[in-house]
Subunit: 268 residues, 6 copies
């Protein structure tokens, strides 16, 4: 845990916020003090806290929490960009979800956030020639959180996956920074061919609840895909696509992933 | 458990039915006798049985079942309307679900029913200034049952949530009495603004599988929203809305939530 | 376990592949050796391995894994067709899912596969007058895997349920051989009438992600239902149905369930 | 839990001490805050805390903690003398064990104390015609704490069982108030005859580590039995018995159970 | 489980008694019905019930109960003498322990009986060249029951180990049929030499609580060793040895192991 | 885990032996491969392996294994003498216990060894002003292993505690290097006075099974205390004390703790 020493200082503002929020929550709800202490307050840095929390969730008889926690810590040490992504994801949820009133809540409670960070570990394993353990984690994520994210997918930072249940993200998917996804979104393939066959979601895009985006197509920068829509062709940047199958129905607000506005332009 | 004394009499007809059904099931399937004994037959009243059953499901290392069971019992004592709602919900499932042949089955097995009753506890906590524990329960409900119901939502009685996986109900949602919802329904917001931003579902309405209702709009009394539809505007009482985005396609049967008829008027 | 003797020979090619793949995986990822040993390599035949694996997943305080494992073995002994179906299902996933590179992976990790085999046990119980235990398993499958399959449904062999979260299959559903289903598909009823009220899916059909097929209608042989579509009327063999509600938009490839092509004919 | 209301006041001095000590411990060792919160601070009275703590220890798959907790609470309500005994036992340990520096420690940590209180529950069950559950608890006490106390034995208050491992107390044993026992003491029978066949330990006696007292004999008031001694005949009040088999070697200090002095008179 | 068929008949009188007693207990104490059902009544024969019960106790993350249950069943199939010994042990406890009023109680609750039967499995493994798993079980027995029995020791049938905590039985020990041992007995070695270095206990002998028998010496047929005695030399048949170190103090009753009389001849 | 880097080299001969033995055991008994992998082979050094193994044993709901594992690692980092002691203890058991045929066995299976190493952690905590957590561990050790060792006791290296059940070691006890203790030994106080009140065991001494040594007395260098003896006065170096109460009966072999000879000089 040598990597924590230099970070335990006060320069990690997010970790400072989280500790402050955890202490306040503990005062208001003492029943949760054990939970807050063991998941947050007894740790020296955000990385250690997340390793503990997620390892407790994913661990089982086959691979106990203690071992998984060490794998998390290895990954954090080897690839500092994971820690950067996690902080960006916390901020993304904090800013975009009006029901979220603290930095602590996504960390403690949001399944979409939990699954995403577990994916970050499985992705690191995948890229370091430990595909078998990565697939094991994919299954655990699917069982525990009900999201199915292939460890080979490439996902940027500042991502929010709201609610999360039912989300499917395929093997060759690319999601750039600052994208928002809602529950039950599928980023899927079309057919049994191997090779690059899943969507590319450009930065700032918003994919609303239940949308299915199928095949190696591109959802352009800051584009929006309406709820339940089925997208089979590219959606240009800053456009809104709606329907089954989806059609372009107009432009959208400048930053749809940040606005989280699932409403649609009036179609007359 | 003083509150149980006056109820242990034979005037609670639903509890009598449940005990009778549990005894019959035990005779037919002795392998389940421990399960039936500990969840149902060893309890003095329906409230005690539900407290036990749901606390066993939601409890974990952080907040063990025993503590949760006591919180359930506190809630039942403090707010007798919860017990009334639960009985109405059991009857709702029993009457509306053709695959349900007893009062016992929803109690033992239906995830939608389980999540709803756990929400009733979290809602009581939310209203009694214990928001932190309410949010903890929201997360546990989401992990265990795959339904995400914000504790601040207001939900009436006589509710059936069929199958349940993937349902999302937002913070300012209102659901009146005798509504039916199916799996994967979203009652969501539109955008990151705070304030009253979620749907109002009037009594007797039916929201079919996978429908998304987005924003502070009203689904009128005994209206029906078709499967997978995306509703962005009010639906008047007794009307049927269908499509992505949804349009009014006609009226519907007088009591759609009771009929559970997901079919649609023929569109020619 | 007398039934295993004659099968432990080398004539079970699938079991030979699985053991070989497990040994290779163990070499590459020693952290998983306990998992692979206890779920696969310490067993004499595929049936014993599956009994162990699924009993560990479904078992809980009420019905411990050891008892469930014995019920699985009883079923395998009494009805040899279950073993045939399982092997066909493994091959189906192996052939149709481009992200699946071994026979071992569906066995170890695929929720849709796990839920399907657990359903096969519950179905056998249902047909042998043990409905109560069958319903208990239905609930456990729904809690653990997030698929809700009624034990009375009739499902053929060579079935792939991809990803699986949110799938609902009703009581009187029939699914013939070699069908593929994706996540979030509903094969549901229309209304609270009892009797034969769920879809019939003919062989070779493909039901894409999020599709809802409602009522006692027929999806013809090798037909395709597009993602998110809501089907309320029969779809003829070899046709493609799309939309909310769905319309026939053309024919489809000869073997859609094998091709897994969720794309749609261009609609102009 | 109606019985707690009148006790939650500040008149229960021991409970006040315990809460104060728990709060101090929590400040000094935050890692234990969850433990202290859930076992002590979240409860309204000592009885509720003990019910929770011991039910968590004894509960298993067969009889879960929640059910046992309710049985404890029933016993406390039905027989107020149990609560009196517990308080006397806490004081006994606090006064007699020099390594014990708070009222909280025996409650949290002392196996002998835990086993004794669990026996008090099993004894109440035995006397209320629930012998089967009483024997179940005897086994759980033996597995969890390594003390074997028959539920029919009669044991007074103000008892200290130090360390506790290996203690055996037979069916017709009587232990009066203010007795001290150490680890590995046997109060056993002689032969397979039924009927009154176990020792009677009069008040204030001290039974040192490893002593075996066998048969329906009497250890008189404030007598002492030396470590490892085997006593087969009555020991008069205020005497010390030592040896294998034991002989009377002199008188002892006025209050041996309080003094806990295992040393012996010099034998020349 | 083919071996059970021929035994499920009514010729196994002990199994018939046990089932009858379990049903009666279930009626008197419904809280235990799940426990009795899963450990006893859902099994076809005594062997299956014991396999289940002990596997549940010994199983842990490293070797789950399901796997251990299969190892038990293998042993029963391969060596029918184990089943004979178990029945003799049940009868031994039933006849000799006045606190035991049924054949069911030792099976359900007696740690000494449980540890002995687990030893029988470890001994079979040891003799079949699976020393590593045998040692694993020795550790589990020691952790769960607090008895330490080396798997290489040879132990006959009709054995009672009363209470059991603290018993130690060394590697080259021999215990013949119909011996009784009490808690805390050591059958140990003297020194670090390998080879035959532990006691030989001839049939019908009684070793009272806390006795230590050290070295390759012989306790003769139907001899008795008094409580807490330390025996370093042979004890002839039908004699009683007492003291630290032990001396022969006279003869004993004809069948000390059956009489269980721990009293001693008066020493004047 | 930075401290492990320099140790992962081949200079730690004991760790090399252990890994070699674990690999051989895995080949002979594949059922244990998960156990051996997760407890031994997946770790970089002996310290990491022991931290994992013991944390899995001591962890519970209140303080999960993951947290305890980190506390172990902290202690190893802060006080390198703990690692030295552990290695000496492994060698002590390997050399002195004829039933122990590898360096791996004590590590995996010996309760006395496990309890001793857990004590080493609790002792470090006690000395670093974390008495509360130290007492928590004392209780866990007592529950899990049935040894009760006060964290303030001072215990040297090269210690063997054989079998271990029932051992009690008081607060002000001192045990010097290379001492051997057997099951059920008490190193206890005499009376309720505080202050230095427990035995001092000088190096090389052997305390046989069931011996009770009471009070602030000294067992001299390479002295021996016979089984079940009760020692109330100093025993000079190289002498043997036997009896209840104990008398000096002669000298003993030069290195009793290494010889492990529990036999006694003939007393005529």
């Amino acid at each position: 845990m040598a990597y924590t020493a230099e970070r335990a200082d006060t320069t990690d503002i997010i970790w400072s916020y989280i500790r402050k929020e955890a202490k306040e929550m503990m005062k208001k709800e003492p029943v949760l003090s054990g939970f807050l202490q063991s998941t947050m307050l007894s740790h020296r840095c955000l990385e250690e806290a997340i390793s503990f929390l997620l390892a407790e969730k994913l661990g089982n008889n086959a691979v106990p929490a203690q071992l998984l926690g060490q794998v998390f810590e290895e990954a954090f040490e080897a690839d500092p960009s994971i820690a950067v992504s996690i902080r960006a994801d916390i901020l993304a949820v904090y800013e975009r979800d009006p029901a979220c009133t603290s930095h602590l809540e996504p960390l403690l409670y949001f399944k979409g956030f939990h699954a995403l960070q577990c994916y970050r570990l499985s992705h690191w394993l995948w890229n370091n020639d430990r595909q078998a353990l990565a697939l094991f984690l994919q299954n655990r994520i699917s069982e525990v959180f009900s999201l199915d994210i292939h460890p080979a997918a490439r996902i940027g930072k500042g991502i929010m996956i709201d609610h999360g249940t039912g989300v499917v993200i395929g093997e060759t998917t690319v999601i750039e920074d600052n994208v928002s996804l809602l529950q039950n979104v599928t980023l899927g393939g079309t057919g049994k061919g191997t090779g690059d066959r899943h969507p590319k979601i450009r930065q700032g895009a918003l994919i609303c609840a239940g949308a299915k985006i199928l095949g190696n197509i591109e959802i352009g920068e800051c584009a929006k895909v309406g709820a339940t829509s089925v997208v089979l062709e590219d959606v240009p940047a800053h456009c809104t696509a709606v329907g089954v199958p989806a059609k372009i129905v107009g432009s959208c607000c400048p930053q749809p992933a940040r606005e989280m506005d699932q409403s649609l332009p009036r179609l007359d």
